[in-house]
């Protein structure tokens, strides 16, 4: 078991390496010159060259890459060109909002999608089923920001139930914290509810058709027991696969949602960094997100072994 985990962990290294090389190369090709921007309006060519040397931008690409990699291995993600602060500091400051948004979104999604999927499976073919499936197709067709603006229009501008903007830190009070997160989390969860409800429905349907379910029912087990002990257990694998995959989309969705609702998280940090050609920040954030994604997939792989004894690596 432990060996398996270690093996998987090691397998993430080449993946992350590829990510690192790709992002590094990509950003070095950008036309905007950060040295010129840092130097300011009155800078002479000499001053720009001096800054370039200072930041190490004049060395050959290979050297720059290795310097960057070794820094990361030491936990140094570099210094932001524009804020003149350690990128690590910037990230830590902005992690809470993104994390809060993601967690609340996932909770919403699971609370809504799984029951939806189960009900759909049980009532297959009925109008409920059709509505749910219809909703799910609509769900991944409308972009997050359109849903976001729609929600703001109805619930903030017209009904005034929720604030239009911003984020309240948890330490300032749970009520305001959740109040500011409801609309963004709802907007973001729509696409996931769509995916996961569908997946749940399909998996549960598959399982419900299996022989052992018929046997269980024949033995007189209550429907709930059948559902929990058999159907969900076996449907769990594909559902969790989807949840894991959905994380990748979650991260992307967070960027847009933070932009619409003006939440000062990692997503907004990325957009700002791109607009400012702030290489170190862009590199660090993309690397971080990729790492998280890879990690989550690893966790899910491990979950498989608990959920389905048939899967052994």
């Amino acid at each position: 078991m432990l060996f398996y985990i270690l093996k998987r962990l090691l397998a993430t290294v080449p993946v992350l390496l590829v990510v690192g090389v790709f992002i590094f190369l990509l950003l070095r090709l950008t036309p905007g010159d950060p040295a010129a921007m840092i130097a300011g309006d009155y800078a002479t060519e000499d001053q720009i060259a001096a800054i370039k040397e200072n930041l190490g931008l004049d060395k050959p690409l290979i050297n720059q890459f290795f310097i960057w990699m070794s820094n990361i291995a030491n936990g140094d993600l570099g210094e932001s060109y524009f804020f003149k602060k350690q990128v690590t500091e910037l990230i830590i400051a902005r992690i809470e909002p993104t994390l809060s948004l993601s967690v609340v979104t996932i909770i919403f999604t699971i609370m809504i999608a799984i029951p939806m999927g189960i009900i759909s499976a049980y009532k297959q073919g009925s109008w409920i089923d059709r509505v749910v499936m219809g909703f799910s197709v609509i769900g991944f067709s409308i972009p997050v920001f359109v849903i976001g603006f729609g929600l703001i229009y109805v619930f903030s501008l017209n009904l005034g139930w929720f604030p239009v903007q911003g984020y309240q830190r948890l330490e300032m009070g749970v009520f305001q914290w959740i109040r500011h997160l409801i609309l963004p989390a709802l907007a973001l969860s729509v696409i996931f509810v769509a995916f996961i409800a569908r997946m749940t429905r399909t998996s549960v349907l598959e399982v419900l058709g299996e022989d052992y379910v018929r046997t269980a029912r024949a033995k007189g087990q209550t429907e709930t027991k059948v559902l929990v002990n058999h159907a969900l257990r076996n449907a769990a694998v594909p559902i969790i696969t989807v949840i894991g995959f959905a994380f990748a989309i979650l991260i992307g969705g967070v960027v847009v949602t933070e932009s619409v609702f003006n939440i000062p998280g990692l997503g907004l940090l990325t957009v700002d960094a791109v607009l400012n050609r702030d290489f170190p920040t862009i590199q660090a954030v993309v690397l971080l997100f990729s790492f998280v994604y890879v990690l989550i997939n690893l966790v899910i792989d491990i979950c498989y072994t608990f959920l389905d004894p048939r899967i052994r690596y």
């Binding site: 990510v19 409308i142 995959f245 969705g253 847009v256 791109v274």
Partner: protein, 304 residues
């Protein structure tokens, strides 16, 4: 009783396609959007880039006079803004109609390019064992970066514009196509008739083209449809964030909404109208894809 031989498998597939409700509804809607794009100039539109500083930010239905510069100097042109006007006095209705052109162009180009490149790489990876692990590592790496972030990173390298947006959206889509094609190649390799062909001395390119390729067509068509839908959304997101196609070059649904953000509370129509038509378009493409998958190839196509 009809003779089975009279109907080729192609024709029977076609029949099944048209009987599938998703294909019918989705396909019709897509057709309508395409018609909208092609016949844009005939639908009561004006030049979507025509500005008029005296009639900015008017509500839908406003009837007024645009101040336009022509060779003769300043000219006054009466106008009814069916969907209101934007921050430079441009007609939102015209921009929304013309916006369909870019969305479709981006969607279809991205799908075509991603599939071509993905197919090539997938075939190589599936067939040449020694290249396989390297290629798949790279693909895994690319897939580890969330698609939007990857698109944002790629687009930041180039100057804003149509080509850079297309390239930026193609990059995250390629790995999935590669995976799909590769898995098909891998499963076909084991088939007896392929082994027979190899024994008979058939050369690799011929093998790939005559045996592998035909099996990829159906799943790739389905995958392609979903790529179109996803590309349209990603372009909208990029343009909305200000990282895609600039609003003054060509209108796209994304950049119409992006430019309208700062006045959303007073003029929500500028976001809601393009948002609506974007949603309907993507929805119809997704429906079409769903239907295609159900009829053509339930086996191989995984939306995910």
């Amino acid at each position: 009783m009809k003779s089975q031989n009279a109907h080729s498998p192609f024709r029977s597939t076609l029949f099944r396609l048209f009987k599938n409700p998703s294909v019918l509804i989705g396909g019709t809607l897509v057709f309508l959007v395409v018609a909208l794009a092609i016949f844009a100039p005939l639908l009561g539109t004006i030049d979507p880039n025509q500005t008029s500083t005296s009639t900015r930010l008017k509500a839908p239905g406003y009837e007024g006079v645009m101040k336009i510069y022509t060779d003769e100097g300043r000219v006054k042109v009466p106008i009814t803004y069916k969907m209101g006007s934007d921050t430079l006095g441009r007609d939102v209705y015209s921009r929304v109609i013309y916006g369909s052109r870019i969305s479709l162009v981006v969607g279809i180009s991205v799908a075509a390019i991603a599939i071509s490149i993905g197919m090539l790489i997938g075939l190589i990876a599936g067939y040449f064992r020694f290249l396989d692990s390297v290629i798949m590592r790279v693909m895994d790496g690319l897939m580890a970066i969330p698609a939007i972030l990857l698109a944002i990173a790629v687009v930041s390298v180039f100057n804003a514009g149509l080509m850079s947006v297309i390239i930026a959206i193609v990059v995250p889509e390629v790995p999935r196509v590669v995976r799909l094609v590769r898995s098909i190649v891998l499963s076909i390799r084991e088939e007896p008739y392929v082994e027979a062909a190899v024994t008979a001395g058939t050369r690799v390119p011929s093998l790939l083209i005559r045996h592998v390729l035909p099996n990829t067509i159906a799943p790739l068509i389905v995958q392609g449809t979903f790529i179109v839908a996803s590309a349209i959304i990603v372009e909208a997101i990029l343009s909305f964030l200000g990282l895609g196609i600039p609003a003054d070059e060509i209108p796209t649904w994304g950049n119409i909404m992006g430019a309208a953000r700062e006045n959303f509370q007073l003029h929500p129509h500028q976001i809601l109208y393009p948002g609506l038509i974007l949603a309907v378009t993507v929805l119809s493409v997704n429906m079409l894809g769903d239907g295609l998958r159900d009829t053509l190839d339930p086996r191989f196509s995984k939306r995910l």
